[in-house]
Amino acid sequence: MTHSLSKHQTPRQTARPAAPAAPGEAGPPHPGLSLADVLAAFGQGDADSAPAWLQQRRQTARARAARVGFPTAKDEEWRFTPIAPLLRLPLHPAQLPAQRLTAEEIAPFAFGLEGCRLVFVDGYFCAELSSLPAPGGDLQAVSLRAALAGNAPELERHLGRVAGEEAMVFTALNTAFFRDGALLCAAPGKVIAQPVHLLFLATAGAAGASAHVRNLIVAGARSEMKVLETYASLSDAPHFTNTVTELVLGAEARVDHCKIQEENQAAFHLSAVHAQQERGSHWTSHSISTGARLARHQIQTIFRGENAGCLLNGLYLVRGDQLADHHTVVDHAQPRCESHEFYHGVLDGRARGVFNGKILVRQDAQKTNAKQTNRNLLLSDEAVVHTKPQLEIFADDVKCTHGATVGQMDEEAVFYLRSRGIGLEHARRILVRAFASDVVERIPLETVRARLNLMLTERFKDKP
């Protein structure tokens, strides 16, 4: 029997004394919008046109959101991620932009990919900028609204079911109010060679413009697919993206899901990716977060069959007053599954990072192998990281390890590079890039790696 539980460091690591008076961490409840205000602001949406099952689910989600309310500083899951600034925005549904974007305007966000692409602008599907596969092929890729209109059976079967009813309140709001998104289905046994790109652009110039985006990805048994999901802004306005992606992996299916969030530094980005895995399936999640004033990434998976696995890979690069939060939940509900988590953060300025990694090993989940690592590089004296592993183990024959580090630039290494003629800023950039390289190198798409390396090189050139 092997039951090893190694703790590299103390369970909670706070790099520095808490930053002075981070908004929302203490004091009275936020004075912004209440949940009732938000429900009113987003109205009834498409209540008339939606199929009955969806109306029902939307109704349930509204009721749940109203019951749960917004999290406060007292809520353990949100302790270090105050949402008060979001609720002080005049939240309202983003409008369909009057000016259509051109192919040239979106080219910088295309990641050099050719092939299947679905483009959404302020949450609205943009057919003329998208290229969809022919219907009836191995890959089905359509907008969610089109799929709803066509009564795609996957929707009723899975939508909202993967995320479940216990998901965070923003996921409930998403279920209640999502306008559009993508439905991707890989047929059983088929390998989809080309990556599918879901591109979400925000153009709204008004503060508080909100897009609720919903995606459903269904990988049939023994199928394989790669999905790139990217978010960016074309305005500087403090807009709000609330996105939920549900992922269903059939037996022995393999999915590589890469999500890149590079929205403007005033934006609020709340995101959930929920996966459900059948026997022998495997998915990789890459979560790259460089944008937004506040970005929360909830990444969850549940093993529903044996011998399944996941690799959760993440990188957050934040500076100024940005906050990046990753909350992962791996539910080892079945025996003989493997999960590996690697999250690296680079923080500059007054930025804050949050990592919470929950690993749940249920009583019957013997021979579980779970590994979790969170490493942080602080480039300034004011950056703060809150990192917490959360292991709940009810089986006895398991291997679970976790480790977290928070450190600063290795000045010995900086000096070594400089002593060979490399300038100070260049040396720092080399070391930041090196710190992130493990995570970047796990991404299979070459164009994504190149873009990230460029970003790493450029981003910390001029410290704010």
């Binding site: 003629g421 490399i422 080399i430 070391l431 890039r433």
Partner: protein, 258 residues
């Protein structure tokens, strides 16, 4: 003109004065050895010359080819032709050795008005220089010094020196931790790089290295001062008699060259 001219240099670290009015000068084509007991200030001298910020210069001057070395940043010193072979080379995970060295070489070339080397030309150069050091080329595909043995790290330092072709090489205890084969390889590398227009400052605790890198001058550093200077035979005397017999400074410690 002297290649390196150190005058009355005093330096301290963490409030403790380590170098005390040290003077020393080197001409092009010369190899000088600095010997001394532990804690005498040998490595401090190397670090001060390379520009490490933790060491504070409290008095004195250092001219390198007539320019004020102490006013230069570490990278500027390297680009000007000063190279420090570290006593403890730093492991840098995630930074590929070849990438690092090409970046360094191109910075140095740029500063000297030369064009950057294309990857192909650079690899040719690397191949040629790694032969001199009998360095396993596979090491160069690894992150800088990561997982290198002690001997490999020291060879890698001299290999970098071979690629960067400095005017002044400072070897800080390059012999420490080396077995005799590695020592010979490192010394042979250094000797092959000797030219009439460059110079080396070899810092060592033991005479052993000086059997292979034969110095023109030997200086004895005790308590932050050069207390005796002489030819290569001084090293043998030190080996035989230890450092204790040197109690009195020679008549003119400031004029380090005999």
């Amino acid at each position: 003109m002297e290649l390196l001219d150190i005058r009355n240099l005093s330096a301290r670290v963490e409030g403790r004065t380590i170098l005390k009015n040290l003077s020393l000068s080197l001409k092009a084509g010369e190899v000088h050895a600095i010997m001394g007991p532990n804690g005498s200030g040998k490595s401090t001298l190397a670090q001060v010359l390379a520009g490490r910020a933790e060491y504070e210069v409290t008095s004195g001057s250092v001219l390198f080819q007539g320019a004020d070395l102490l006013a230069m940043k570490p990278e500027e010193r390297a680009r000007a032709g000063v190279f420090l072979a570290f006593q403890y080379p730093v492991e840098i995970p995630g930074v590929n050795s070849t990438y690092f060295l090409r970046a360094a070489l191109n910075e140095c070339r740029k500063a000297r008005g030369l064009a950057e080397l294309a990857p192909i030309e650079f690899l040719k150069l690397v191949k040629e220089k790694s032969k001199i050091l009998q360095l396993d080329p596979a090491l160069l595909n690894r992150p800088v010094n990561e997982g290198f043995s002690g001997g490999e790290k020291k060879r890698n330092e001299i290999f970098q020196m071979a690629v960067l072709e400095p005017t002044l090489a400072i070897l800080d205890e390059t012999d420490s931790g080396l077995d005799i084969d590695a020592l010979k390889a490192v010394a042979a590398g250094v000797n092959k790089l000797r030219r009439p227009d460059n110079a080396a400052l070899v810092i060592t605790h033991y005479q052993r290295l000086l059997n292979y890198i034969v110095p023109d001058f030997v200086h004895v550093l005790v308590d932050g001062r050069i207390v005796r200077s002489g030819g290569k035979e001084l090293a043998f005397t030190l080996e035989e008699r230890g450092y204790d017999w040197i109690s009195e400074p020679t008549a003119a410690p400031a004029g380090a060259n005999p």
